[in-house]
């Protein structure tokens, strides 16, 4: 039997030592009529070899981004990952360990989380980061809940330039405690300062703005920050792409109160969108209102440097119904990948990845905009590595036609309830100019006009 060491003979010896005649005696507490009378209706078991064959068949049903020329983004990105990341992440010492409850035999995990927290603080310009949340969406939702804990104001303003799926998750997370969500309109692909001004008042507890936003556009954060902080209690929550922070201003520099984001792009494969991880950072004075695990440096009894989980009095295993969140894990292994990735890339490498992504994205955008019938959705709006174009036909058709050429042309914004002619295109440093030209040529040959 797979995964069980004990033989039937040993099982017999153990039952003897327990002092029962059969396994059934051990489960006497389960009333007989509650027990399953038949075996479960599942497929017959497969050996490792048979399973591998089956998986080989199944994977043939997938067309991965290695086989296609992909320009998909919308929150999950295909950035370069150095091979050494997987070597570290595959170490059983890391991936079969549990939560570091016994600090003395978990220093490896505790220290990399501390390093991870440091890197997130450095990227975002904030003072404290937790050990991570499930994804960017739940991190954004938890940020709104944290703002409510801080100022007691149950109204949050969200820019309509936010990832639409984040909005759905935020709604699910915040409706239970009665947070009113107000959507701020956009203009030219950016949060409308005019509408934000109109939506602000003393009852607003937090404002959530994503930059680069869902469409890849860079928000005018200085101006928006001023509008938010005119109201002294209102907290500014910023959702960011961590790769962009190699070249774009850190949210701490424009006085953000809480910074969250999707961390997958930092050394984690796409895996059809999971696992992801959400990073979560804030100003230091909010430490005790934070959700999730936090690792702190301390000393052992001999005065040696050591690490431990800290501020645990916020958490569910101690506070129960009064905890800051119900979360009792983090996306630990994903943050290990991020930590190793950021170490390998270093300050120059990360900036180079961000710069090349920007260059290539702008190159593609210029070439598409020059095609008859196509235009950028917002030609004068600054963007990072992702941009929206307006197609002469529904984006759905462009995507299907391009797929015939082995190209994932982009994300159909209609699938997020937005304009059906808009296509969202992402470019990372993994793309070459040749691949970009292949895209442009394929599109030109469609002759939609």
């Amino acid at each position: 039997m797979p995964y069980i060491s004990n033989t039937d003979a040993e099982r017999r010896q153990m039952l003897d030592r327990i002092g029962v005649g059969s396994f059934e005696e051990l489960i006497a507490a389960i009333p007989k009529k509650l027990r399953l009378q038949e075996p479960l209706n599942l497929d017959a078991p497969l050996s490792e070899l048979e399973l591998a064959r089956r998986i080989q068949e199944r994977t043939c049903g997938n067309v991965c981004t290695q086989k296609a020329n992909s320009f998909l983004g919308a929150g999950v990105y295909d950035h370069f990952i150095p091979a050494a990341v997987d070597t570290i992440v595959s170490r059983p010492e890391f991936f079969t360990a549990y939560t570091p409850y016994q600090a003395e035999v978990s220093q490896g995990t505790l220290q990399f989380i501390y390093e991870y927290q440091t890197m997130i603080c450095e990227l975002t310009g904030m003072s404290i980061a937790n050990a991570s949340m499930y994804d960017g969406a739940s991190a954004a939702a938890e940020a709104i809940l944290m703002a409510v804990r801080r100022n007691g104001l149950k109204k949050a303003v969200l820019s309509a330039s936010l990832h639409p799926e984040y909005l759905k998750v935020i709604k699910a997370y915040t409706e239970g405690i009665g947070v009113e969500l107000v959507l701020c309109e956009t203009a030219a692909g950016l949060t409308s300062a005019e509408d934000l001004s109109a939506k602000m008042d003393d009852s607003v507890g937090s404002v959530l703005i994503q930059t680069p936003n869902f469409w890849g556009n860079i928000e005018p954060m200085r101006e928006l920050e001023e509008l938010v902080h005119k109201y002294p209690k209102a907290l500014l929550i910023v959702a960011v792409d961590p790769i962009s922070l190699a070249i774009l201003k850190a949210p701490g520099s424009y006085n953000a109160d809480i910074v969250v984001g999707e961390g997958q792009a930092l050394g984690n494969s796409m895996y059809m969108g999971g696992p992801l991880f959400g990073f979560f950072a804030s100003k230091l004075d909010m430490a005790r209102a934070m959700p999730g695990r936090i690792v702190g440096g301390t000393l052992d009894k001999e005065g040696k440097r050591a690490y431990a989980l800290t501020l645990q009095a916020r958490e569910q295993h101690i506070r129960r119904a009064k905890a800051t969140s119900n979360i009792c894990s983090n996306q630990s292994l994903c943050t290990l990948a991020a930590t190793v990735y950021l170490s390998l890339m270093g300050r120059e490498g990360l900036a180079e990845a961000a710069t090349q992504s920007t260059q290539l994205a702008h190159n593609l955008a210029g070439k598409i905009a020059a095609l008859p019938g196509f235009s950028l959705a917002w030609p004068d709006t600054p963007f990072f590595k992702e941009f929206a174009v307006i197609c002469p036909v529904p984006a759905q058709q462009v995507i299907a036609d391009m797929l015939d050429h082995g190209i994932y042309a982009g994300v159909n914004l209609a699938s997020f309830g937005q304009n059906e002619k808009r296509l969202l295109i992402a470019v990372t440093e993994k793309k070459t100019v040749a691949q970009i030209d292949e895209y442009v040529e394929a599109l030109r040959e469609m002759h939609y006009e």
């Binding site: 030592r17 507490a29 994977t59 049903g61 997938n62 699910a172 239970g176 390998l344 490498g349 600054p382």
Partner: protein
């Protein structure tokens, strides 16, 4: 203690290379300087070998399953099969994007569809969502579903959820997050729910009941039928915390004995790696009447193939994850079920129960065990005798176990047992490994009698000595002060 990666930094070192730039456009011409950062983030500047040596060195400071027994109660630290790791890393799994057209994801969708069905069968539920990415998020999803059910029925007066005093902390925390008030239920002298107390606190305002079964004492809640009758009698719903499902595979289908909603912990029951705290997986199964409230999308199948099914979006609780949950974790659970089949899964639970009872039999004369009788997959011992007679606490015993090469059990939980040590060996441990753990526990019991001071000093052989976690709170140090 090890230096941090920042302390290995040397200006100019690089650990990864990128292609030469193909384009010569200047970043300042593409993005206005007002948005640009003045100085690059001060990430470490280290070579690949620096990085490898640093993190391998850190890895040596961890306990992990391949090193030794990891008897954390309710955490189900079983062995994680390596074939599953190899298969999950297939480039057609890790290089697929969630926004690809469904026609290019048929292999993945087929597996997820089968996993939905298999988990429904294992739990006796009608349908399963694979979206929640952790047990606690599964709880959140499940309680949201209960709230949606009551909302649809106009049960606006139902504001309370009952949670036993032996429950995991996530249960009451989840209720609060969804907006419910928590009413705590007492345990009886047999370590089960106190039915009389339950009757006295259930009323029209009861929205639901959260129960872990087997409970955190490792005991099957044998009055589940009566409990179900009481809760269903006021149109309440019963949530099963599936943390301990490893005891029930092929033995009991929770959906057939009164439970309405349950979450699975894939990283416990289905052997997906814990990863030092995540990523996990927390699928949720529900009975027929709650299917309309499951998160969107489910994985559907029609004549054209497999697809993301948003058919019930109007009644659904919405979404709890940006995309479709932790696909890479779901894959490993799929592999596990496919390799074990019905008989294999039942053997898993049988051996988990036998291993726990065997270990309890070896320890019971040396450590106090409050709730006697056979246990399911885990049991709770305590240090009552050692504390009273030798002044040695459960914390001391836990730390001493680290010296002997074992991880400690879950300690000081459940809260209803003072000085608790909650022990779950799991089915993957062999008899000799259990014998060795028991021998270490017996040695410790002897050390308590002969040299209690040694136990206060423990651990002595670990990478660091006892860690001062009070100082970690008092002198808050959550990020390394990077110089330069």
């Amino acid at each position: 203690m090890s230096k941090t990666i920042f302390e290995h930094s040397v200006a100019g070192r690089r650990g990864a290379t990128l292609p030469q730039r193909e384009l010569d456009s200047k970043i300042q011409d593409l993005i206005s300087p007002e948005y640009l950062r003045e100085a690059a983030p001060r990430l470490p500047q280290v070579s690949e070998m620096d990085v490898m040596r640093h993190y391998i060195k850190l890895s040596h400071q961890n306990h992990f399953i391949e090193k030794g027994l990891y008897p954390l109660g309710s955490c189900t630290m079983k062995y994680n099969p390596k074939s599953h790791e190899a298969l999950a890393r297939h480039s057609c799994f890790n290089n697929i994007h969630p926004c690809q057209p469904e026609s290019t994801l048929q292999g993945s969708l087929e597996m997820l569809y089968e996993l939905q069905k298999d988990l429904a069968e294992i739990s006796g539920m009608s349908q399963v969502t694979l979206q929640p990415v952790a047990g606690a998020q599964g709880e959140f999803t499940g309680i949201k579903i209960i709230a949606a059910y009551h909302q649809a029925k106009g049960n606006h007066h139902k504001t309370r959820i009952i949670v036993p005093d032996s429950a995991h902390g996530t249960n009451p925390a989840t209720c609060s997050l969804v907006g419910y008030d928590v009413v705590e239920l007492r345990s009886n002298a047999r370590g089960r729910c106190d039915l009389e107390h339950l009757k006295s606190i259930v009323d029209e305002n009861t929205a639901g009941f959260m129960l872990t079964n087997p409970n955190t004492l490792g005991l099957f809640e044998d009055q589940i039928e009566e409990i179900a009758a009481i809760i269903h009698g006021v149109d309440g719903l019963i949530y099963m915390d599936g943390a301990n499902l490893n005891a029930l595979l092929g033995i009991v289908q929770p959906g057939k004995i009164g439970f309405d909603v349950l979450h699975f912990n894939l990283h416990k029951t289905f052997a997906t790696p814990h990863g030092g705290g995540g990523p996990g997986g927390g699928p949720v199964g529900v009975v027929e009447k709650l299917v309309p409230y499951l998160p969107v999308p489910l994985i559907g199948k029609n004549e054209e193939g497999y697809f993301f099914d948003y058919g019930h979006a109007g009644s659904s609780i919405g979404k709890v994850h940006t995309f479709y949950g932790n696909f890479a974790v779901l894959l490993r659970a799929y592999f596990y079920i496919k390799m074990l089949g019905a008989e294999g899964l039942r053997r898993i639970s049988e051996n988990a129960v036998i291993n726990a009872n065997y270990l309890m039999a070896l320890l019971r004369e040396h450590y106090h065990i409050q709730y006697a009788g056979p246990c399911m997959h885990e049991f709770v011992a305590d240090s009552l005798w050692q504390k009273k007679e030798h002044g040695v606490s459960t914390l001391d015993i836990a730390k001493r176990l680290l010296d002997k090469g074992f991880h400690a059990p879950t300690i000081y939980f459940p809260l209803i047992v003072p000085e608790a040590m909650m022990i779950e060996p799991t089915e993957t441990e062999s008899k000799e490994s259990l014998d060795a753990f028991a021998a270490a526990m017996l040695e410790i019991a002897q050390e308590c009698r002969e040299n209690p001071e040694l136990l206060h000093e423990a651990p002595l052989t670990t990478p660091v000595r006892r860690v001062d976690d009070v100082r970690a709170v008092k002198v808050l140090d959550v990020a390394f002060p990077i110089e330069d």
